[in-house]
Symmetry: C2
Subunit: 659 residues, 2 copies
């Protein structure tokens, strides 16, 4: 039975028609309390405190703010063995990565090591993830370099630049902690997955491009990050390319990629790819030391200061003329780092089936960055690569972060001279190899298959970063996320419903071609909540459906349209503009001599319709619990009472409906 | 039967269970075309061109861009008689109002008359409303004064100020026309009704406060618009108050309010309130002329230049250092004027049951302001007060605007000297009386009754304008509108469904206390589309519902939970983040040893679930067309096949379901 065919559904339903109920009214403050709770405490953090004695409540409260108190008493030696292995593994990744990313941020390389010492210790106490490994990340590092670099030159004025980086880290921490305390964590959700895939992919590409400086051993390089500037900068100085550096870089990159590929194929050998960066660093350093390559165009790290993090509280540049730049940089890099950290923590918690409280995590990230900014660290979060290694290495708790911090501490105290001969080109290879993992082509293909608009959004964010700048890409990403949501909200779908043969079920005729139209009736489903943003559109769309239907009926020479049934089942909420829209639609439909029938209104809709006197105006008898019952009643009126049509129009319902 | 009681619904449904269908796939470009059409052409303007011969298409196309061609051929003498009366009535209102609002914008009073001459003629040709009367409006006038006044002092540098006003008007027109051409009219919908009520009320209050200068006859006055500055300014110069002016002002205000009240009570005498402003102006002018009150502290308009609008195209300040200010002012005042004009046009079209094309109206407004900016007019739109008078006076077409323009033309050519002695205090009274009508307390009460959050939004916008400034109020209004929408989207509702006794219907147990829970089953309804912005929330909320249900079952000592049925009927659309969320929820539910069942998925949901391989992962047999059928199948498994529970968990459906 095709879309266009007509069937007469059974009208037996009239005998069991139900009335749509107005929900019992609740006191204002109870409603307010429950909506505030849903807005700010959707995860119900106070749930565990219910019905507990005060001493237990105190303990639970302490455990809430210091999760280490929760798991430490249950900690066993077996756990420690696993955490020790994981901790050493991530330390071997953290040291070269830390140095590389600090270079990317135009900061002294030693800061990368400092940043892998204090923040992991803070996170181990405050964080609720068991898998997250704390450290610096590439994209916020690059973004920090580009935003602060616009104001202060890192080579000409390294002290000011360093102080601004600490200040930015401090404000990033303050932002992260405040979002957590104010329970505004859901703001992070407004960056859609598609924009994040595109933005991260673009940023990773840009980071890779920047590494061409190190790979080719160039002394001078563009400050721009876009593809065009970088290509121009590289090809304008082909005579400066150093083949020693390039050969070394390509070899190490090849080595890193092969180990990564191998570990991906055989997850048991995860440690091969995890150890590869440190192996490269050691091997590269020995090679340079032996061949004195530093005198043949291979740049090396040089002197690294021995000793633990010096305090940097006094370096925070409050009141400096550049404070505004530092705040802006802090807020933007802070939110990006937060988004990455939360997403990573959540994904791994999903694997192991435990729960992560997003707001609590934000407080942990915030505290760790505030503490970091006072101890010569810059922005840290939970990077994906390091966390994945931690997870694969079999970490059990945040103790693996403590082990990593201790390993880094030992390095800082005794081993820094060993990095003197480490070639920069190895660091570039490490960054490129890590960034190639961030470019998620599979996710982009998945987006293309699932949702073309999401794919477009993803691509725009990508090209914005690659051809514009990281900031432009970010603005495009956020704007597109917002636009995506506005379009979602502003243009909801409406459908014509038809009867599924031999049932009382009415469904979208596009989805169920077997569903048949009911003559004389137009059954429309509004497939979204009605807000001010879509009320005008819905009004026009409903009237257009009615026009289309009347045209179709005229063309087929059928009986004229008599009833318009609106299935409100999907109208979960409505605001005052939505109610006005319904009133206007009712007026327009009445004026055409048709009758508006509502089916399946939800509780909020009924409540508001009742308060607005709409129900009184439209005869509550013409509001049914299901579309089937509404159709039954309309058919009953159409077929049994044709002579009494005037009565129908005046709204008197058949007695059978008054069940 | 209460909320907590349990019932066993009939399981007969299994025999007629239907399978949820995956909609037939459409080619990509067809989908793209249809979504572009819904986004930009929801009103289907090309509808009338379908199946028409080319000559008719040309005519319709011309009529589309020049609506006057559509109605002019059908114009009759009877129409003209009505339009003549309406036109003269609105002219009598337009002249004093125009002068008053020009004073409010710190512009020469004559500009108010100019602005009632050219723009109405342009609108009469391009506009599609039959009731809209064109003219200047108070709030954008005040906003223009305050925004331009920040940069250029209108008394010290009147020429520059005037040129900037023309430039701002030009850009307002360009913005309005572009929004129309690009079919982006829906942007105006994003200002919610509640914020507009609050903002307009606040702005009207501020405008009234500004009139205290005229009423009290003060020479010096604050440039601030907030309540505190105005009150300080007034009470710091009590010795300057002129009682003559105040008495005159209060008398006229009283007269205007009485006539308005009378006309409101007896709509037949609409012309009494419509004529009252002109009467006041004439009477006031005579009084001043006779008593020489201008020498006793009553300020008068003074000399008005005779003659029609001089061209002002060369005055447009392109490339001036203040161009940026002019553009900003133009864009902001343009969008506010547009929102008012569109809303007014639509409301009156509703009354008379004809359709207004929002995008076409925007083009008309834009063209009228571009033309206006070249002929010494400033920003015009369709003010509510004047349009209401036009409507009450029985206007039939836009010819009433032409009549008004001719009346204003005659005034400009011959009658301007008569306004020499018009006291400013009368103009202040006219503005106050008009503005008191804009403060819509009933609407605010309606908001309070219907939706407390909307009321809060309205109040915040109001206080933002009154205690901050018009700009601050506007920013608050827009920010609150956005926040309102974000909250709508970010926090959708979820409900527990119960069985309505003696039926297969499942509804929200809060709305239908009679609905009973089904043992062993948790039936949840997600009451909104699932986007990236609410996916995280929904995941946490669904898991919380399951936790709560398990706690409840434990407390009651019932059998454990076995099935979680998600009613997806209201999930009209879903994006990739939403699909990931469902996959995660399924994993979590599986891990708890429960079974996820989907009911009533819509076409987009089915399409995307299919593409994402979710359906393959979850056994398509566990997706039902209705909640009733899903419950039937679950109950069948629970009661008949308890011994075969392992089979259920492995997902094999009972044979009866394979209909």
């Amino acid at each position: 039975m095709g879309n266009g065919e007509l069937i007469y559904p059974s009208t037996t339903s009239i005998e069991c028609a139900h009335r749509a109920a107005i929900p019992p009214s609740k006191p204002f403050f109870k409603t307010l309390k429950s909506s505030l709770k849903e807005t700010f405490f959707p995860d119900d953090p106070l749930r565990q405190f219910k019905n507990q004695p005060p001493s237990r409540k105190l303990l639970l409260g302490l455990q809430y703010f210091l999760p280490i108190l929760e798991w430490a008493p249950r900690y066993t030696f077996q756990f420690f063995k696993d955490d020790l292995i994981a901790g050493i593994t991530i330390a071997s990744l953290a040291i070269p990565q830390g140095i590389s990313y600090a270079k990317l941020a135009n900061l002294p390389p030693i800061l990368g090591l400092y940043s892998s010492f204090v923040p992991p210790l803070v996170y181990a106490m405050l964080g609720s993830s068991r898998d997250l490994a704390v450290g610096t990340v590439a994209v916020p590092s690059l973004l920090m370099a580009s935003m602060l670099g616009n104001e202060v030159n890192a080579t000409q004025n390294p002290h000011l630049y360093l102080h601004l980086a600490f200040t930015a880290t401090f404000f990033a921490g303050v932002l992260q902690a405040s979002l957590g305390f104010l329970r505004l964590g859901f703001i992070v959700d407004f960056l859609s997955h598609a924009t994040i895939v595109g933005f991260m992919g673009g940023a990773a590409t840009v980071v890779c491009l920047q590494q061409l400086k190190g790979i080719l051993g160039l002394e001078h390089f563009t400050h721009g990050t876009d593809l065009v500037s970088v290509m121009r900068s590289i090809f304008s100085q082909t005579h400066q390319w150093r083949w020693e550096s390039a050969v070394l870089g390509c070899c190490f990159l090849f080595f890193l990629l092969v180990t990564r590929y191998f570990s991906k194929k055989r997850p048991k050998f995860f440690w091969i790819s995890a150890m590869a960066p440190l192996t490269s660093v050691i091997f590269g350093s020995i090679l340079v030391y032996v061949t004195h390559a530093e005198k043949h165009g291979v740049q090396v790290i040089g002197h690294l200061k021995k000793g633990l993090n010096p305090p940097s509280f006094t370096d925070l540049a409050f009141g400096s003329p550049y404070q505004k730049t530092a705040i802006k940089t802090g807020l933007i890099t802070g939110i990006i780092a937060l988004a990455e950290g939360i997403a990573v923590g959540r994904s791994f918690a999903m694997f192991k089936n435990y729960h992560i409280d997003g707001n609590k995590e934000m407080i942990a990230f915030g505290m760790m960055n505030i503490a970091g900014s006072c101890t010569s660290c810059y922005l840290t979060t939970g990077p994906f690569s390091r966390t994945a290694v931690n997870f694969n290495a079999g970490c059990k708790t945040a103790v693996s972060n403590i082990v990593m911090a201790i390993a880094v501490m030992i390095t800082l105290l005794f081993l820094t001279p060993l990095f003197h001969y480490t070639p920069l080109v190895v660091l570039s290879s490490i960054i490129i190899s890590a960034m190639l993992g961030v470019i998620d082509i599979d996710a982009a293909i998945h987006l293309w298959k699932l949702d073309k608009f999401d794919f477009t959004v993803c691509l725009s964010a990508f090209f914005g970063v690659v051809f514009g700048s990281v900031e432009i890409g970010l603005v495009i990403a956020v704007a597109l996320s917002m636009l995506r949501m506005l379009l979602f909200v502003a243009r909801p779908r409406t459908f014509i419903l038809g009867n599924i043969p031999n049932s009382m079920i009415y469904r979208n005729v596009d989805q169920y071609p077997v569903a048949g139209r009911v003559p004389g009736l137009l059954i429309l489903q509004i497939d979204a909540p009605i807000y001010f943003a879509n009320a005008s559109y819905l009004r026009e769309r409903i009237m257009r459906w009615i026009n289309d239907e009347e045209d179709k009926i005229k063309a087929l020479g059928e009986n004229s349209l008599q009833y318009v049934i609106l299935d409100m089942g999907a109208v979960g909420s409505i605001d005052t503009s939505g109610i006005s829209m319904l009133e206007e639609v009712k007026k327009s439909i009445d004026r055409r001599g048709l009758k508006l029938v509502l089916a399946n209104p939800g509780s909020e809709l009924m409540k508001k319709l009742d308060k607005s006197k709409f129900i009184a105006a439209m005869d509550p008898e013409w509001i049914y619990l299901t579309v089937g019952e509404a159709v039954g009643a309309c058919n009953f009126m159409l077929h049994s009472c044709k002579s009494e049509f005037t009565k129908v129009n005046s709204g008197a319902p058949p007695d059978e409906n008054n069940v």
